[in-house]
């Protein structure tokens, strides 16, 4: 597979990079590790006029640092470096698990970046195909057409799937992203970063760059966990995944956040499903019930796409959720 021609820029500074992007807008794309962009460009799904390489900004945007109870992670931080960071392993074990699930070890080292994982495009069985393959079908919503081949007749929007592992766990951890653009910087919660619309899944303007992620470090007596179901143990996207983050006070749940992944165009935060756990010291049955509720609440959103059908997702979504809740709680209690 050959790439179509484009211009290549490798700016030396952040200001230079932002100025170039502001000038070129949506005709230019950022290049970090390239593991999401290049396959899409080879398939003609991304057709950049200019590729702006971020390689000279690695020193500036790869730091993992702690400040005022918050962990700041640069967008160009390499996945393995974040996953193996002592603070992440110690205080945010679920994030370490989620990042270790991405691709394979050799892609996590020095190639894949945390920012790239968060900005990865949503995927679809009918979209992520070669140009020749797609030529037999009418353009879908994601290609500015008027049909969704995955959803079938009567579906009025794109039903592609966010299969990022990092996004699910960071959503459950209530992380924020920091964006820089022509007019300065802004920060927004991950909940707002992912639009839930498959056509335009990321709420970034054409002039913006993801600078990094900020996660509040949970208090003592907290635990997080990430679980995924996939066909293979490596080089595979999840078919359903779940993240849970729990804090305890005097043995009772004081905060709990969960998210389901790989079932919708954004990580699916399910706040009401786990609200009954608040103030409780839940046993296994209570966690299983919460997981079932999460699956039911997710029901209307679940997609029939990417190697797992709707019925499978309906039945299986509670499984990783229950496992993630159990392990997060065990970690919060200090029993695992």
């Amino acid at each position: 597979m050959r790439l179509a021609p484009f211009e290549y820029l490798a700016p030396e500074s952040l200001n230079e990079a932002l100025a170039a992007k502001a000038n070129l807008g949506a005709k230019a794309v950022w290049l970090a590790g390239g593991t999401d962009l290049l396959p899409r460009a080879k398939q003609g799904l991304a057709q950049p006029q200019t590729v702006i390489s971020l390689k000279h900004l690695c020193a500036e945007l790869s730091a993992v640092s702690q400040d005022d109870g918050k962990l700041q992670i640069g967008a160009l931080a390499v996945i393995a470096d974040v996953a193996n960071h002592p603070t992440v392993q110690g205080r945010l074990p679920g994030l370490s698990e989620a990042l270790h699930a991405i691709g394979a070890l050799t892609l996590q080292q020095r190639v894949g970046t945390l920012g790239g994982n968060l900005c990865a495009d949503t995927r679809c069985l009918y979209y992520n195909q070669s140009q020749e393959w797609r030529a037999g079908l009418a353009p879908c919503f994601k290609l500015a057409g008027e049909v969704c081949h995955a959803g079938g007749e009567g579906v009025e929007r794109c039903r592609s799937v966010n299969q990022s592992d990092g996004a699910v766990m960071l959503s459950a951890l209530d992380a924020r992203v920091l964006l820089a653009g022509e007019k300065g910087q802004r920060s927004l919660p991950l909940e707002d970063f992912f639009t839930g619309q498959g056509e335009t899944p990321i709420a970034m303007e054409a002039d913006e760059l993801l600078l990094g992620v900020e996660v509040a470090l949970p208090p003592d007596g907290s635990g997080s966990a990430y679980e995924r179901l996939a066909l293979r143990g490596a080089i595979d996207y999840p078919l359903a995944s779940a993240a849970a983050a729990i804090s305890l006070e005097d043995g009772a749940v004081s905060t709990v956040r969960v998210a389901l992944g790989a079932v919708f165009a954004a990580p699916l935060l399910l706040k009401d499903a786990v609200a009954p756990l608040l103030g409780q010291a839940p046993d296994e049955a209570a966690l299983a019930q919460a997981a079932q509720r999460a699956g039911r609440h997710a029901g209307p959103f679940l997609v029939d796409n990417v190697r797992a059908d709707l019925q499978w997702r309906k039945e299986m979504a509670p499984v990783p959720m229950r496992r993630a809740l159990e392990r997060a709680l065990a970690r919060a209690r200090g029993t695992s």
Binding site: E7, L38, G103
Partner: protein, 162 residues
């Protein structure tokens, strides 16, 4: 559009300078311009690992790396592993163990193994399997490859020549 740019880098210890197009991948430059055809294109989308080379010491999918990203860098391909007629530790172990069948995945497997052995003194089986998990082999069933990497690690630990 897409004018030629000068790419200056080091391949297997030799300085190379050539004009490339922005959209050329490292794999295309290695195979088609430098005629280093050891690195293979399997899937072309980063899944199979057959095109793996080391860039500045770290494994990269050459099919998903723009050649210009390696500007000023050091690239090691399978052709750079042997010292003249003398096979590298990993290569010798692959041959002896029967870890090579059709051979298509072998260059990528060798470089991933080389990377692992350069980072870990004595990797256990789990570490070897994890390192090779980014590579697909359709012939061997992986057992012989894992054995070969373990043999290479073992020999190095004992200070044996290959």
């Amino acid at each position: 559009m897409a004018k030629l740019q000068t790419l200056a880098f080091e391949v297997n210890g030799e300085a190379v300078e050539l004009a490339v197009r922005s959209q050329e991948t490292l794999l295309e430059v290695l195979r088609e311009r430098l005629e280093l055809t050891g690195s293979k294109e399997g899937c072309g989308e980063g899944v199979c690992g057959a095109c793996t080379v080391l860039v500045d010491g770290a494994p990269r999918r050459a099919c998903l790396t723009l050649a210009l990203e390696a500007q000023g860098g050091q690239v090691l391909t399978v052709e750079g592993l042997a010292d003249g007629a003398e096979l590298s530790l990993e290569q010798q172990a692959f041959v002896e163990t029967g870890a090579v069948q059709c051979g298509f995945c072998t260059p990528g497997m060798l470089l991933a193994s080389h990377d692992l052995l350069s980072r870990q003194e004595q990797p256990d089986e789990a570490a070897i399997r994890q390192q090779l998990s980014g590579h697909i082999c359709r012939c061997t069933g992986y057992a012989k490859i894992v054995e070969a990497v373990a043999l290479a690690a073992d020999r190095r630990a004992k200070g044996e020549a290959s």
